[in-house]
Subunit: 479 residues, 2 copies
Amino acid sequence: MADDKKLVEQITSMDEDFAQWYTDICKKADLIDYSSVKGCMIIRPYGYAIWELIQKNLDTRFKELGHENVYMPMFIPESLLQKEKDHVAGFAPEVAWVTHGGSEKLTERMCVRPTSETLFCEHYANIIRSYRDLPKLYNQWCSVVRWEKTTRPFLRSREFLWQEGHTMHATAEEARAETVQMLNVYADFHEKDLAIPVIKGAKTPSDKFAGAEDTYAIEALMHDGKALQAGTSHYFGDGFAKAFDITYTDKENKVVHPFQTSWGVTTRMIGGIIMTHGDNNGLVLPPAVAPIQVVVIPVAAHKPGVIDAASALADRLKGDFRVKLDASDNSPGWKYSEYEMKGVPLRIEIGPRDIEAGQCVLVTRHNREKTIVKLDELEKAVAEKLQAVRDGLYEKALANRQRRTYDCETMDEIIKKLAEGGDGFVRAMWCGDPECEDKVKEVTGVGSRCIPLEQEKISDKCVCCGKPATQLVYWGKAY
Amino acid sequence: MADDKKLVEQITSMDEDFAQWYTDICKKADLIDYSSVKGCMIIRPYGYAIWELIQKNLDTRFKELGHENVYMPMFIPESLLQKEKDHVAGFAPEVAWVTHGGSEKLTERMCVRPTSETLFCEHYANIIRSYRDLPKLYNQWCSVVRWEKTTRPFLRSREFLWQEGHTMHATAEEARAETVQMLNVYADFHEKDLAIPVIKGAKTPSDKFAGAEDTYAIEALMHDGKALQAGTSHYFGDGFAKAFDITYTDKENKVVHPFQTSWGVTTRMIGGIIMTHGDNNGLVLPPAVAPIQVVVIPVAAHKPGVIDAASALADRLKGDFRVKLDASDNSPGWKYSEYEMKGVPLRIEIGPRDIEAGQCVLVTRHNREKTIVKLDELEKAVAEKLQAVRDGLYEKALANRQRRTYDCETMDEIIKKLAEGGDGFVRAMWCGDPECEDKVKEVTGVGSRCIPLEQEKISDKCVCCGKPATQLVYWGKAY
């Protein structure tokens, strides 16, 4: 049992040092590794398998809604980046610049894409002519680069993987509907598949995407009470279309500008999964994106028939679930620790006595609940348990958020409630003045996260200046 | 019918100008577009859908053989690139250099990966300790950059998409077996799924990958008689392992170096598909990678019941095939041209008389053969036709290669046969001297493509110097 203990000892307790606990999981669950490329991460097979499941799920959702995938160049010439003024101001300070090709200096330097609005716009200007060409519903899966000073695996790294949807519509209404539709897709994916409850809302003007008219986001609360912006969806109006001279001939034969959206989620979601569901034994994965949903572990494997029974059991489940049989020489205890660390939602133990009784033991990762199941009811039991894991994770995360959500009417109340309950979401009214927004952050430490789509009236005064206020805002400390 | 004609007129004839015909197809079949990023291409939805089908097929094959996907950083610090001497000499002249992050100059410049051996090696040095850690069978799907002077869509562009497998093995034998196994995977994929016959062979020493002990390739002959290197698989021995200090403790407790391979195919394969199967009506896609395998076109669509019948027919096929119903207002003739241009393997026409007779018309793209099929035999007929398209494409490509393959014993014979028959594969013996290799190219215009794994004895003398020669070499002009 010395080995078992060692494995668990390697993780810092989340209560002791949440940041170190997070990094420990990234490394010990074999999600990432570091390299000599500062600020970037290697996504290892187990981490990448999670990403592939996320991609597959979202890609199916996007395509069902009529989106098509494309691939744009990874470089953006400086002059192209500069075409939309707000956009370049937002991104130029944090891009990587390519200045040489081989031994030759480029006549114009190019950045590695931090996002691809400019490239999509240039292309749309080429291919959109008539109302018959609209809508254009494009998406791209790729890596992007932003030259961050402080980096953390998945949460903030110089290079990350993402998808970026870029769509063009005949009318503002249709583009606005797309913006909200994709926000809802992200929210649904987070809640149903990642078991992460989210708040859907609009960003305040100071927090909008560079060049957007409106930015929407889904905000999740992590186990430690800090907020994570988990996905964004932007409405651009016709601002980029004007800057890039994108026009089409409408049904009345007039030449007009189309309306645009973009929306994206990134490998950051993996960080969100870790910080929402993980515990002191390691990662806890929601079944929808778990590379291994069920691990089968033979107990007393040296006894005759045990490996065979475990193997038969794994084979039975393989058609319906992602299953791994671990028939290695390691002790069952070591294996339990190992697959708990890796967050496998469901473990099946089977030993000589189980075989005799025609049963096996199911153990759910998140609560270590054991259930003895008759072998002839196995498929049904496994499906139910995986659903129970998803539901249990969601309820636990929701309870954490509810416990850490504070309705406040004054800044003093914010300070007091955060001090008493720990970090979390503060819900408080805001008059709309950016100065108040800044002051709340300065005085209480929490910044505006979003103006939730589902509004409630907590009071009728701004939490900062006391003037009349009609907007409920979620405030928090953010990753 | 004016419209129909216009569409077809837009392509240059392949007999008139093969290069222009190729570019025309890339553009007119909506595969790519250009942008202000010189030497790079936009892969449009239809082109990207082909790539996604290629990816899915290969990814499944790789995973079935135990490979796992990972993601490495896209940057390589200059010092890391320089660790293996042959490798840096091969790639440094053609990389894009990042010198600035935001407004700050980097202390060490980094290149955008032209290939990732160096990053994989650094990582392997971190994670391989014991023989139990071997083999490591990793693959990566990503984009890479090589600063080419002359570029053509898919065939040679500054950025392209690819997969790069990187594996580490305990023994040289095992690594060699992997190298050949992956070459065979590529060959099988090309022959069975892309319907492109290939020659499997080894590259001559002058043509090896920078840092490899042996490079294997599959070589295909395009319609115009030029060769296309369609995939490569490299055996590295322990050269990189030594340069990167990758060691493991073997079963006898000795610290030794592992043995390495890498292998890759790229979006270039799409170029190969175009130039192998395309014709003067446009693209011709092998069914395995056709985004639309079957297009259903209603004839006399204004007549009652026609659209409904076509729609019902498309719905019936949707479970088994990738089907599109085109019920738009365009004329049937316009649609025929459009989907011929896009290379859709099978067209189904259905009009009032067909409905009455309980039948429809199947037309195969590559030979325009029409078959009348009873509706109750539709699924079977469609499956058979798609197989017939694949077989027909393969046979046509093989016949082209056979017609254009010339066995030669002297350089005069090479010149004569190429002049008579047009460009193609020359099969001739080689003594192994690089000077002879160069001279053959200089005098006859064809370079060595590969030393085929299946050797035959055409003569016993080198085609160049006349000294004894035991190696049969395929020679050709290459893309």
